[in-house]
Amino acid sequence: MDKFTTLTGVAAPMPMQNIDTDKVIPARFLKTIKRTGLGVHLFDALRYLKDGSENPDFVLNQEPYRKAEIIVAYENFGCGSSREHAPWALLDFGIRCIIAPDFADIFFNNSFKNGILPIRLPRAVCEQLIDDSKLGGNARITVDLERQVVVRPNGEEVHFEVDPFRKHLLLNGLDDIGQTLRHGKAIDGYETGRQQSQPWLPTIAA
């Protein structure tokens, strides 16, 4: 997983509530076997017209937002399915950070697991950031995870909260697996003990 330290980039304004996982990536794209490659279908129903061409009114089809790395939205981002295709699609498009007043629980956790930083900020701040991001390419937003601040284009800093463990993983580019593997000795020890106390547990030769 890529480290997340400081990100300065274009933020796409999506002033909507309840952007559900089906909007992020429609269910018909879930029968894939890869977690990469979903970026072209991100926000499919909003992004493309019926004939398959780009919808010029949708923010991610406009400059400079085609290269957006941050999304600013309103309440309950990511509600819906528990499948991880939504963060996969966002990441594949290039989104590393989402700012909203609140998020659906499972999506919130799934984002961290996939290297995306979800930031909760009050509605009024999100409204300001949406206005900022509408200014386009010259109005970059900086997210400094170490210092836990979002820096607005005018230099004003806004503090945000983040779980210390999650922060540690993102800063160091560790995924949950990498973290658990550091407890490898404990796992080895457990397995040895288990083999002795319950030798009947079946194993299968491949």
Partner: protein
Amino acid sequence: MAARTLFDKIWDSHVVERLPDGTCILYIDRHLLHEVTSPQAFEGLRLAGRKLRRPDLTIAVADHNIPTVGLRTPPDIKEEDSRIQVQTLEANVKAFGVPYIPILDVRQGIVHIIGPELGLSLPGTTIVCGDSHTSTHGALGALAFGIGTSEVEHVMATQTLLQAPQKNMRIDVSGTLGLGCSAKDIVLAIIGKITTAGGNGHVIEYTGDTIRALDMAGRMTVSNMSIEAGARAGLVAPDQTTFDYVKGREYAPKGEAYDKAVAYWKTLPTDPGAHFDTEVFLTAAEIAPMVTWGTTPGQVIPVTGIVPNPADEPDEGKRAQLQRMLDYMALTPGQHLTDVKVDVIFIGSCTNGRIEDIRAAAQVAKGRKVAEGVQALVVPGSGQVKKQAEEEGLDRILLEAGFEWRDPCCSMCLGMNPDKLTPGQRCASTSNRNFEGRQGIGGRTHLVSPAMAAAAAVTGRFADVRQFG
């Protein structure tokens, strides 16, 4: 030590390490894989250059996408997405050395049917799979639950999961089950009572003499639908029925090892006085042959009941939701269920695809005929179930009655293989989910027991199986 529940005991014995925030590194004894939720996890391992830690504690089978009729292996799986998922699984198990049950092996079947059948699902163990109905295996007194794709990868790499403990819930069912009622009716009645959110945040232990009296197949049916009751896992304490079931199965301990295992398994049941955060009590007298009428498993009534009227619901939001369900299901308030005609019958799935379920269906079907215009599928949950049913002559009884006798797979439980409802078709199904479009776009699903499904097949409408001699 303080009195502990069955869940507490299994949990405690699998904690590798407790992290400062209370999360535990929990050891996993058995990891089951199927073709739908594993590809991205294998991909993740590959990208990170990691190994699969314990292939010998892992087993894979393809079940969701396999056709139930005709040629069943990848070159002949017509839908491209399905074929690619199966081929990807077959390539991945080779690359990572994971034991795999080939599609044409007699032991192939739905992952939640074959785990117990092969003696891989054992009391006191932890079992996970990237599939919510992993709760099924809890019937043996195992802590078994579904996980997401990131977690599948985590188990592959570490044989552990990061988990926070759940709350304990007890659902007690007492009394003798009435004639024509089965485990499916018990669990539907439970969900009707506690709603689909009733078990949120809990692991459910099913207790009481009604549950004790169930055979293992029945216990699996109940535990299977714990997820529909909002819980990630369900449990039934292991007892003699469990020990007898496990004995002699392919991977189950044998001889002295079996005796030692049983001695340990006998220490697992919940201690007297152990604390449950939530307790619910039902009596068997409250349970009749049940039928769902809405689009969540909680909308369930006895077959003798009438379709409820949304107008009776005081809350405006809920009223609108009920109305939407009735519109989708094409039902009218006050309608008798026994007047509702069916188009398709599906007997199978990890809820009701075991030999006992097929016997129950065959008993009703014997000497009768599937009603005109009705298509009735019987899909055994595994190759072994199919073989046994054929040895008992159940296939002939069903075929003579006009049922179709298929090969094992998830089949019409979900619209992921060729067995699908067409828009507007109404189905009496022994599966576990009646969500909009679950069995095919626009399809209308009513959840019932195998005997009730067979009764609907021969009547052409929902029928009270208690009136079938």
